[in-house]
Every structure is written in C-alpha cells, then in structure tokens.
C-alpha cells in the first residue's frame, strides 16, 4: 500500500487523534496526539494490508520553542508488504509522558529507555524504566537542546575521583585547572 493511503486510513480510523500528515522525499509522517498511541500502534500492526510488524526505530526529538516540546518518533516498517510509515507523537514539555509500546513491539524496550535517558521522556508501564547509556546517577538529559555540548560541571558525578586526584598538584605546576 502507498504510505499516503495508510495515512488516510489511519485518519479515518482515528479522526480525533491525527493532527497532521506530511510527505517529504516519498516518506510520510503522521503526527498524532499521545493519548491513544497504544490503540494507533495496535491498529497499524494488526490491520490487514498494513501489518507494521517491524519497529525499525524509536527516538525522541526536542523542540524547545514549540508548544509541544517533545516528539516521540516511531519509524515503522512492514516486512510482508514492504511499506513504511512514520508516526510522531506530541508531548508537552512540562509532563513528557507517553504509554510504552513494548506490549506491541518488544524491540521498543531499549529504544524507550534511551529516549528517557537522553530526553527525560517517561514511558508509562515500561517493564524496565532505567537510564541506559548514562550512569544511573547522572543529572540532566544530554540530548535536550538546553543541555550544553561540553556537559555541565563534572564534579556532580561523584565517582569521578581520579580526575580530581590528577589536579591536586596543579598549583605546584602552575596549571590553570578552571577549564
């Protein structure tokens, strides 16, 4: 099926949920509200002739200046029908929570953990909701746009004692350690 047809079908099924449909370079994105994301994904996976059985990718995106600051992007693919579609769920900046899609695609588990780790997006009823790439004690969400590229003060990170030890003799050597 053509991606636009899938988008139209989705719009007929979930008229109140679909906010926007856009096409770029032959790839179709459907922007949806977050409340019924599980129903939408379940429909896309089970509806005959759509059968999105393969969750290629799931990631977060941060748009600090928008009303809905965060987006969760689902790149779906159907192996039997060879078609793809992209879902984008809108999340407000003050309470970025959404239902986890792990009951539908188990592969979403670690992608969602990463989106939490990097953006602070909370996935409800996720089986193992922890940070994944950063240490558990990390403060802040590195991929948010307001997080500086070079990170914040590393002294927050308690286990980084070696680094401090190295700089204890800085005065003797007249090295400026205030980088």
């Amino acid at each position: 099926m053509e991606p636009l047809e899938i988008a139209e079908k989705l719009k007929r099924e979930f008229a109140n949920e679909v906010v926007d449909i856009s096409e770029f370079r032959g790839q179709v994105s459907v922007t949806v509200k977050r409340e019924r994301i599980l129903d939408i994904c379940r429909f896309l996976k089970s509806a005959s002739e759509i059968e999105m059985d393969y969750l290629a990718d799931l990631c977060g995106v941060d748009y600090p200046e928008r009303r809905f600051r965060f987006e969760v992007v689902y790149n779906l693919y159907s192996i039997p029908h060879r078609h793809a579609i992209r879902l984008k769920a809108l999340l407000p900046g003050d309470a970025p929570t959404i239902e986890s899609v792990t009951p539908i695609w188990k592969g979403a588990e670690w992608h969602e953990r990463e989106a939490y780790d990097m953006f602070g997006i909370v996935f409800n009823s996720h089986p193992d909701h922890r940070r994944i790439l950063m240490p558990d004690t990390w403060d802040g969400y590195p991929l948010r746009k307001d997080y500086p590229l070079k990170g914040r003060d590393t002294s927050d990170y308690k286990e980084f004692n070696e680094a401090k030890l190295l700089h204890t003799h800085d005065d003797e050597w007249n090295i400026d350690s205030s980088f």
């Binding site: 770029f24 370079r25 790839q27 994105s29 059985d53 393969y54 969750l55 290629a56 990718d57 990631c59 995106v61 941060d62 992007v73 790149n75 192996i79 060879r82 793809a84 992209r86 695609w105 188990k106 592969g107 979403a108 588990e109 670690w110 990463e114 990097m118 994944i132 790439l133 950063m134 240490p135 590195p142 991929l143 997080y147 590229l149």
Partner: protein
C-alpha cells in the same frame, strides 16, 4: 555456580550466585557488562549494562556540519567503517535530494561488500576463538590483511576510512586496483571452503552451536533484529533487496536464510554471505562504468581539490561547506536504512534548513541485538552465553554511540 552454605540446623543452603561478566572480558567483544544470576551453571537472569563507550555521537552531530559528521560515523561500527559512511552519505543525499553518479554508486557497492567480508571475517575469527577453534582466527586474519591493504591503497586508511563523500566518493579507483581486487575474488571462494573444512562439520563446533540460542522468526521480527541475526531465523528481510540503494537492484545475488534460528544457522547465513558478497564485487568490477565520481551539485557537494587550489570561487565554496555546511539545505526529515554487516543501520536525520543536522539519530543494529541477548541466554548454560554473544555479532562502539 551455587554456593552451598551450612545453616544453623546443619542442612546445606543453596543460593544463587551473581556473576559480573565484563566490561573487560575478551569474549564480550568490547566493553559490554553482563550481570548473570546463576543457579548452578544455568543462567537465571541476564542483565546487560551498556554505555561504557558512549561518546555522544548524536549530540556532537547536532553541533557539526553535515560534512563534519562523516568522520564521526566511522567510529560507530569501527570494524566496517565503510558501511557506516555509505549509509550516512546515502541518507544525506536523500535529504538533500541529490544523487551520486553511476560510477560512484558502483564503487560504493563494491567497497560496501568488501567491508561486509572484512566484518564477517573478524566475526568468524573471534566467534570461533571464543568457542575454542584457534586456527580459524589466523586463517581469517590472513584474508583480512589483503582487503585492508586494498582499502589502504584506495584511500590511505585501513580501519577508519572516511572514503565516501556526500554526492560520491573521494578518490577514483584505478585499473590496477580493480585487478588486485579481482585477484582476491578469484581466490576467496577457495578460502571460504577452507574455513568450512575447519569447523563446518567439527563435532565440538556442532555441539556448541546447534540448537543453542534459538529465536523464532516471529520473535526476532518483534524484537527488531536485522541482518544475518534475523535471517538465521528464516526471515528474508534484507535492506539491500527491500529498499535498494547503490546498484544492488541491478546485480544478481541471493539472500541466504536459515531455518532453525540457532547459533549454527546464523553462522551458516554469514558463511553464505561471504559467497554472495564475493559475487557482487565481481559483478561490480565487470560492469563498472566510466564517468565522474562526484555529483555536480555545487550547493551540496565539495568541489574537486584541484579547483579549490586554483580558483577563488571554489576555495570559498569549500570553506563555506566545511565550516558552515550547505546554506540551502531543504527542511524535512528522512529515515534511510542501509544493510551493514551487522544488520539494518538507519539514519534518521531532521534538517531545519541550516548547515547542521537538527537531530541525527543512529539506529544501530548492535544496540537492538544486545537488547535481545537476555532472551537468548536466560534458561541456558553459562558457556552458551559466549556462543550467543558471538552469534549476534555486536560491536559496542555502535551500540553505545
């Protein structure tokens, strides 16, 4: 191992042992840490901990121009940097709406398959070593050496090549180089047969791999597995066939698949891929057309070096593209997947019209495969953990990004 302790009443008490495997363990193929809860020799629970190699590639990309991101992609799956580069360039070209010339596409397909052979050779070498077959390791590195030498002659680098460019490739291939590559493809099928005589029907090999780490086709798709790890379960999903890029749709080749989804079938799939890759390279050598190797798109593609050194306009163009990025990048987002040796490598790039990507997400196959590891290991013996890690073919540089 179960630790037995004597309780106050004189009876033996058994409790589960927690074992830390990694992050510095030779069989984890990088800095992967597995926390294993053991009951005797059976793994009850397996919890992978990753992130030891996290360098923030996605964050760095948001602060670099499209051209500066290219060397970063080398460091994802450093075993097959060529494939990562090709994937990235294909994605950016789709975003910009430009196309690389024919000859460049052929060169990319060819070098991409060379990277696949390189990666599979390293996989076979280490996987066999982990399970106890030492000789294969030395044999594989002999052939690997020839291919990295060819990479060195092509672009000067052996491991992190940064050879493809947005809109084409860096250097043209010479006829001598193609001859050397052709010689390699002549002898390589014989080498594959050699590896197979070493292990294919080796009784220890069969016992260590057959019926181990079984994953059903449905489960594998549901978990998002890709590449040979998915095809070992009998799903013929290959990005090169399903969403062709390069010149894959114009060549004749097959997608080998397994049946049982165990370690042995995944091994067989990769062995067959050697032959397919070899045949793809040969077809490319025979059919490669002459012509330019970089697209003529001054807004997005770096100018030729001689022009940069000889006239002002091209110098300025090169300077702007490298330091500020293309000034007329279209707004939009694309998800472009390519088939790298490990599986489906996807780049999801969002452009806001500036010279730097607004967001660049890397969908790394190793990340997904490590996530599936507990499912393969739990309930099985601890020795099979090693076989399972080998069979899903992971590189932690890509997993942690």
């Amino acid at each position: 191992m179960t630790i037995e302790k004597t309780e106050a009443n004189g009876r033996l008490k058994a409790e589960e042992l927690t074992l830390n495997m990694g992050p510095q363990h030779p069989a984890t193929h990088g800095v992967l840490r597995l926390v294993l809860e053991l009951d005797g020799e059976t793994v009850v629970k397996c919890t992978p901990h990753i992130g030891y190699l996290h360098r923030g590639v996605e964050k760095l990309s948001e602060h670099s121009t499209y051209f500066q991101v290219l060397p970063l992609t080398d460091r994802l799956d450093y075993i097959s940097s060529m494939s990562n580069n090709i994937g990235y360039c294909t994605a950016v070209e789709r975003l910009f709406g430009i196309e690389a010339p024919e000859r460049a596409l052929y060169i990319r397909t060819m070098t991409g398959e060379m990277a696949r052979i390189l990666s599979h050779l390293l996989w076979l070498a280490t996987h066999a070593l982990d399970i106890g077959a030492m000789t294969v390791f030395l044999y594989c590195f002999r052939e690997r050496e020839k291919l990295v030498d060819l990479f060195e002659r092509l672009c000067g680098a052996r491991l992190t090549v940064t050879y493809p460019r947005i809109g084409g490739v860096k250097n043209d291939v010479t006829d001598e180089w193609l001859d050397s590559l052709f010689e390699f493809t002549e002898e390589f099928p014989g080498r594959i047969a050699e590896y197979e005589t070493l292990i294919d029907r080796n009784r220890i090999w069969l016992q260590r791999t057959k019926g181990i780490g079984v994953i059903s086709a449905e489960e594998a798709v549901n978990r998002g597995l890709s590449g040979p790890t998915l095809r070992g379960s009998g799903v013929a999903y290959d990005v090169r066939k399903y969403m062709p890029y390069g010149v894959y749709d114009r060549l004749e080749w097959e997608v080998p698949i397994g049946k049982n989804g165990d370690v042995y079938d995944r091994y067989r799939v990769r062995m067959e891929e050697f032959r397919q890759s070899n045949s793809i390279i040969r077809q490319c050598i025979e059919r490669i057309p002459s012509g330019p190797i970089l697209a003529d798109e001054p807004k997005f593609v770096l100018p030729a070096k001689e022009r940069v050194l000889n006239d002002m306009e091209h110098l300025v163009q090169q300077f702007i593209l490298m330091t500020k990025g293309p000034q007329t990048a279209p707004k939009g987002d694309v998800y472009v997947a390519t088939e790298v040796p490990k599986g489906e490598l996807g780049y999801y790039i969002i452009s806001d019209g500036t010279g730097k990507p607004y967001r660049m997400r890397v969908r790394a196959p190793s990340f997904v495969h490590v996530a599936a590891l507990p499912g393969l290991c739990e309930g099985n013996l601890i020795a099979d953990v090693i076989a399972n890690i080998g069979s899903i073919d992971i590189v932690l540089g890509e997993c942690d990004r």
